[in-house]
Amino acid sequence: MTDSLRHAVLIEDEALVRRYVAMALEASGFKVWESETAAQGIMETATHHPDLIILDLGLPDRDGVDVIRELRLWCDTPILVLSVRTEEVQKVEALDAGADDYLTKPFGVPELQARIRAVLRRTPRKGDEVPAGGGIFEFGEVRVDMALRRVTRVGQVIHLTPLEYRILTLLVANLGRVLTHRQIMREVWGPGYVDRPHYLRVFMAGLRRKIEKEPANPRHILTETGIGYRLVQ
């Protein structure tokens, strides 16, 4: 990494996990502040103003979701939560409370690094335009021209309905980041629809059919089962 040294606060109670996450962070050019408890982690965050917070949801002293809510009162540092496979509800709560993304244990170092890149991209350090490239965004064979409100695939114009287009642009704006059903529903349909995730599923299926080569095995619009969706390049 060519950036100046960035700071990360790592809040994780299991020593082994903490150790290898710290190793991966250091390999990505972070200075890591490790803490074992939520209380210590909040203190470290207040002291060091980190660029990234990595938070385990299963902390012994406090509920992870609570910690996120508290942090979000006074800091907008990207938060990446770590959790185990069976805690889907908790993950969604954490994301809706303001966490930026999650990782399910066990995760590989490449996954961790990809997530870190995605959450940091969303909060550029010097106010870069998002997405870069003059409002034109490409993934796979698809090209989205935000200025012309035009979507093409292999040069062919794709006809999207207004809702499909709004979903797509929302995903593009959050490239690489997970969006919960609730977040997408609120942005696209409005707050009144958040308890009808099946609407989103049907529209997402429509969008996939137009964009993906193999809608049942998507390459770009990925489903995070029980959580939401993620667009990858």
Binding site: Y20, R85, L160, P197, H198, V202, M204, T223
Partner: protein, 525 residues
């Protein structure tokens, strides 16, 4: 008194005594009273003497019955006229005056005798009824506490011997369905079943198979001197009661018949209760052992998961170390990492299984798209599917399905993973989903060697796995999780082989009542 008269008296007494007891007693009483009254006949007026005889006849009517009392009346009138009415000869007997006395007294005697004999019959009936009810009550109280069919034998056989002049044997089906007699525990009591009963097995079977006909409507099966009565409970026949009569031509009185019916119903219900109790106990045992197993699974896998997950991470982190690792070390680390992932996936299956079998499986059901679940499953196990060609065909007609997406994802993951375990790399795996008769039918097929014949159902059992490629065996839980999840969604699953070769897993899910989704119209951009 002339000797001839005395002789006549004695001979009549002797004659009657050997024949009928009551008349003998009536004769004796009249004789005694007459002998007692003769010395004082000068001091008594006739009316009083007659009254004494009347009292006597009345007492005879009460105590000895109608015939004896009529007999006593005639004797009394004769004795009264002969010994007490002057001139103490038979002449007075034919006096119409005394015939009139006879005419008045006869109805009184008859009515009295009738009333008392009716009363006596009632008493006898009441006593016998009480005896029966008491024995039935004793049987009931003895049977309520029993816990094994063998305990049934003693009280029942005693009851039958006491009430029906017969030997009873209860036949109940054993584990293999053969009818076997219930023997009382301990050495057989003397006199109760002295001789081994000859039981006609085929008649017993017939009575047992008679099934749903209530005993009240069915004719008891009779064979030689035995009756074969099915023992009904509310849920079917639980055994057969064999009644071996001591007298071949013996018939049941209506009272005995109703007693027998009560007794049979009672034994039937007790057998049913014992059956239920045994089954409940069995179920409790099974639930307990299942719970123990699942608790063990859960704690084991949870305790194993954390360190193994950390190991995977460390192996990963080591790959990043600088200076870069030697290529040999690198590939060793990579294969170690791969093995750790396999262990983790098995631990996850143990956890899944344990979770599926806890008391309250909570499915987070939402209206889901099958396509999305399949796509997500393929992404989840992308590393496992490397080198396999997965083809997906999904019917456009498939509506939203109400399911737990996480669980259903496991179904696809496990089925796909199972396919890779039994087929060589480069094989083709097909997922085909379509609507068939209000069901969504999903088929996961491969072009591998197929399932061993006869093993199709066994594959879904816990800890069972077929022959796998070397080194890819799992814990054998994948398919049982699949079945548990499919069944929790109201579906069914079958395994088999495709005619053209290769294994096929087919499951179906019911189509519910999917909600309507309003499209935002044709306003294309």
């Amino acid at each position: 008194m002339p000797a001839s008269t005395l002789l006549a008296w004695i001979s009549v007494i002797a004659l009657v005594a050997v024949r009928i007891k009551e008349e003998f007693w009536a004769l004796a009483l009249v004789g005694l009273v007459t002998l007692a009254l003769i010395p004082v006949r000068g001091h008594l007026i006739l009316a009083n003497t007659l009254m004494i005889y009347l009292l006597l006849v009345f007492l005879v009517a009460v105590k000895l019955g109608r015939r004896a009392s009529v007999f006593a009346l005639f004797l009394s009138i004769f004795a009264f006229v002969y010994y007490f009415v002057p001139p103490y000869s038979l002449v007075a007997v034919i006096d119409p005056q005394y015939l009139l006395v006879l005419g008045f007294m006869l109805p009184i005697v008859l009515i009295t005798a009738h009333l008392t004999s009716g009363l006596r019959t009632q008493v006898i009936i009441a006593e016998s009824r009480e005896r029966r009810i008491r024995s039935l009550y004793e049987l009931a109280s003895e049977l309520t506490g029993i816990v094994a069919p063998a305990q049934l034998a003693g009280p029942c056989y005693r009851f039958i011997a006491a009430n029906f002049d017969a030997d009873g044997t209860i036949l109940i089906p054993d584990d293999r369905g053969n009818l076997v007699p219930v023997a009382p525990p301990g050495p057989p009591a003397a006199g109760l079943t002295s001789s081994p009963l000859a039981i006609n097995q085929s008649v017993a079977e017939k009575a047992f198979r008679q099934g749903d006909i209530p005993w009240q409507e069915s004719v008891p099966h009779r064979c030689e001197t035995s009756m074969y009565i099915p023992l009904h409970g509310s849920t079917g026949v639980h055994g057969v009661l064999v009644l071996t009569l001591h007298k071949p031509d013996w018939e049941l009185s209506s009272e005995q018949e109703s007693l027998l019916k009560t007794c049979v119903t009672f034994i039937g219900l007790v057998l049913e209760r014992l059956g239920f109790a045994a089954r409940a106990q069995q179920a409790v045992l099974e639930i307990e052992s299942e719970r123990l197993r699942n608790a063990l699974l859960a704690s084991l896998s949870h305790d194993m998961r954390t360190p193994v997950a950390a190991m995977a991470g460390i192996a990963d982190a080591m790959l990043l170390s600088s200076p870069p690792l030697h290529s040999v070390h690198r590939s060793l680390l990579e294969s170690m990492h791969k093995q750790i992932r396999l262990i983790l996936s098995d631990i996850d299956k143990l956890l899944d299984m344990a979770r599926l079998h806890t008391d309250h499986v909570t499915l987070h059901k939402e209206w889901q798209l099958l396509e999305e679940v399949i796509g997500s499953a393929i992404k989840t196990i992308a590393t496992v599917l490397e080198g396999y060609a997965v083809h997906i065909t999904i019917d456009d007609q498939i509506p939203l399905l109400e399911m737990d997406a996480m669980m259903m994802e496991r179904v696809f993951c496990n089925l796909l993973e199972n396919a890779t375990r039994h087929t060589p790399v480069g094989s083709r795996i097909d997922i085909d989903a379509r609507v068939e008769h209000r069901l969504v039918v999903v088929r996961v097929t491969d072009n591998g060697p197929g399932l061993p014949p006869g093993q199709e159902e066994a594959m879904f059992e816990k800890f069972i796995h077929g022959k796998t490629k070397t080194g890819t065996g799992g814990v054998g839980l994948g398919l049982s999780i699949v079945r548990a999840v499919v069944e929790a969604h109201g579906g069914t699953i079958h395994a088999g082989n495709r005619p053209e070769g290769g294994a096929q897993f087919e499951f179906s899910l019911p189509i519910g009542d999917p909600p309507l989704v309003v499209s935002d119209g044709e306003k294309f951009l």
